[in-house]
Amino acid sequence: MIAFENLEVRYPATPVPALKGLSLRLERGIVGLLGPNGSGKSTLLKALLGLLTPSRGSGTVLGVPLGGAEAARLRARIGYMPEYDALIEDASAYEQVAFWGELSGLAPEAARDRAHEVLYFVGLDEARYRPVSGYSTGMRQRVKLAQALVHSPELIFLDEPTNGLDPDGRRRMLDLVLRVHAELGTGVILASHLLGDVERVADQLVILDQGQIKAAGSMAGLRKALARRVELRFLDPLDAAQETALEELGAVLEARNGLYDLELTEADPTAAFRWAQAQGATLVQVTPRHDRLDEVLLRALHEPTPAGGGGN
């Protein structure tokens, strides 16, 4: 779906590039794009939309080279739902969705028919003739989703789609995102600060910070790694030789007062007891660590960037 190699994007008259040599390959699915403000998420979306030309490196989106002459044609295959309220306040949902459909290349009559269909799909069938200025936040978000879907894109970018929604509204929006992928086969890039949203719908994750990829991979792989996280408590603190030998069990993430946070090489906590027996140490407690995604995100943001700033 998307592939980059050493991608660098630079804004005019700024010495520091906004994206620094990203390498990334994403398969069709729902990709969660996480990162703090100013991390380069918007710049990445602009580059993917063909609005910014890479200053170095190369990449393709849906098989189309980035920064090439086909950027406009590529945008006809992509839907974009912005974070902010990009709604034409003096028009009804029906009028503006038809308008966006026409801008994407639909004939006027086809765009009008399509506006009805897509507004029904997002649950705005009955309200579609009302001016959007009278819509609730949830309805406005759904109009934005409808305009992104009106031309049946192969890939959609959703920028904070659950912003300002109550829990029920969030659930409905995320259900729609899942439906878009499952029923329409549309690839989804979901940029969000709400990690629970990403956790719920995404099957791949990219963590960006300061224009670099801090971590990237499949959610299944991430969950698997999380399942291997344990905390070991020993009766007496381990000596230096035992601490070194502890690496046999897996990576030691943190050690404090006889407590050791480990990411086990194998997802089998009983290996820790066997290791303690072999080392003559008294293991009194093995606690699985149920890290949440936000802890993973924070850790990734504070870890040094892997060489090449790339993901898988």
Binding site: I78, A107, V118
Partner: protein, 286 residues
């Protein structure tokens, strides 16, 4: 509780749509319709048009009916004749047009800025030149279309009533249409450039009126302080007024050919450049 469709069928073929600039212009026309400013301006322009047509008919009566013969010489002293009459066909509608252009054009770009839809347009297959072309096209086409009956209806009526000897020259449209096109592009570019500097439609209206009146005042002040007449070409109202006169062969008292050409080119170039700079994608915040 929203009701959701069981599924969404695929969209029809995307290759049958209209060019983006046409879609944008059509949408702006729909917005104009909603502004409901047509009643006042429609009445005003219609009244002016009726006066022009009535003049053709009165002229015809004076020339053909012996009963009005004594009035003919008197009428000639108070009513414009010949080339000046041709140029005057577009006035005073062209003055009122500035207000209409300010009301409509002031919001053309500013409304998109206010609603933040321009970045979303660029996320579609819309190039900045499509956007600029649509806005300039709409803002220029509007005054041109409104002026069209003022050039064509009196001409048609004159031809029908008096043939080639009527008060309107048979070749008048050939001279008036280019003048209208120049004036309309001048109005359109100024409105779009001013609107691109505003963040709300109301501010856009203020910008257009401020620039039109401000440029005129500045030009007048410099003219009277320095005696440099050509500076009057800074005044866009005078330029719009001068073009029909110059093209039908009447000397404008303030603006000659060269200042009119330079002034119009400077205005059109400057405001188009500003609009292009202010609407490029880098201004967009996604």
């Amino acid at each position: 509780m929203p009701i959701y469709a069981p599924t969404l069928p695929p969209a029809p073929d995307l290759r049958h749509g209209h060019p983006p600039a046409v879609v944008l212009m059509r949408f702006d026309l729909t917005r104009l319709w909603r502004q409901k400013i047509g009643r006042f301006f429609g009445f005003a322009f219609l009244a002016m048009l009726l006066w022009k047509i009535a003049r053709i008919y009165v002229d015809h009566l004076l020339n053909t009916n012996q009963a009005f013969k004594p009035m003919q010489d008197f009428a000639k002293t108070i009513l414009t004749q010949g080339a000046a009459f041709q140029a005057d066909l577009l006035n005073p509608a062209s003055y009122l047009l500035w207000f209409l252009v300010a009301l409509v054009g002031g919001g053309l770009v500013a409304r998109d800025t206010l609603y933040r839809v321009r970045p979303l347009m660029y996320a579609h297959p819309v190039a900045p030149r499509d956007y600029l072309l649509a806005k300039l096209g709409f803002a220029s086409a509007l005054p041109f279309v409104i002026l069209l009956p003022f050039a064509l209806l009196p001409w048609l009526m004159s031809l029908l009533l008096a043939g080639l000897n009527g008060p309107v020259w048979a070749t008048a449209p050939l001279r008036l249409l280019p003048a209208m096109a120049l004036s309309s592009v001048l109005m359109g570019s100024l409105a779009v450039g001013a609107s691109s500097m505003a963040s709300t439609p109301r501010a856009g209206i203020g910008w257009v009126l401020g620039l039109v009146l401000g440029a005129g005042t500045l030009a007048s002040m410099i003219h009277h302080l320095t005696g440099f007449r050509a500076i009057d070409a800074l005044n866009p109202v005078l330029l719009a007024e001068a073009w029909p006169q110059l093209l039908v062969g009447v000397d404008h008292p303030l603006v000659g050919w060269v200042p009119a050409l330079v002034g119009s080119a400077a205005h059109i170039g400057l405001w188009t450049w500003i609009a292009a700079k202010r609407t490029k994608p880098s201004e967009a915040v996604i």
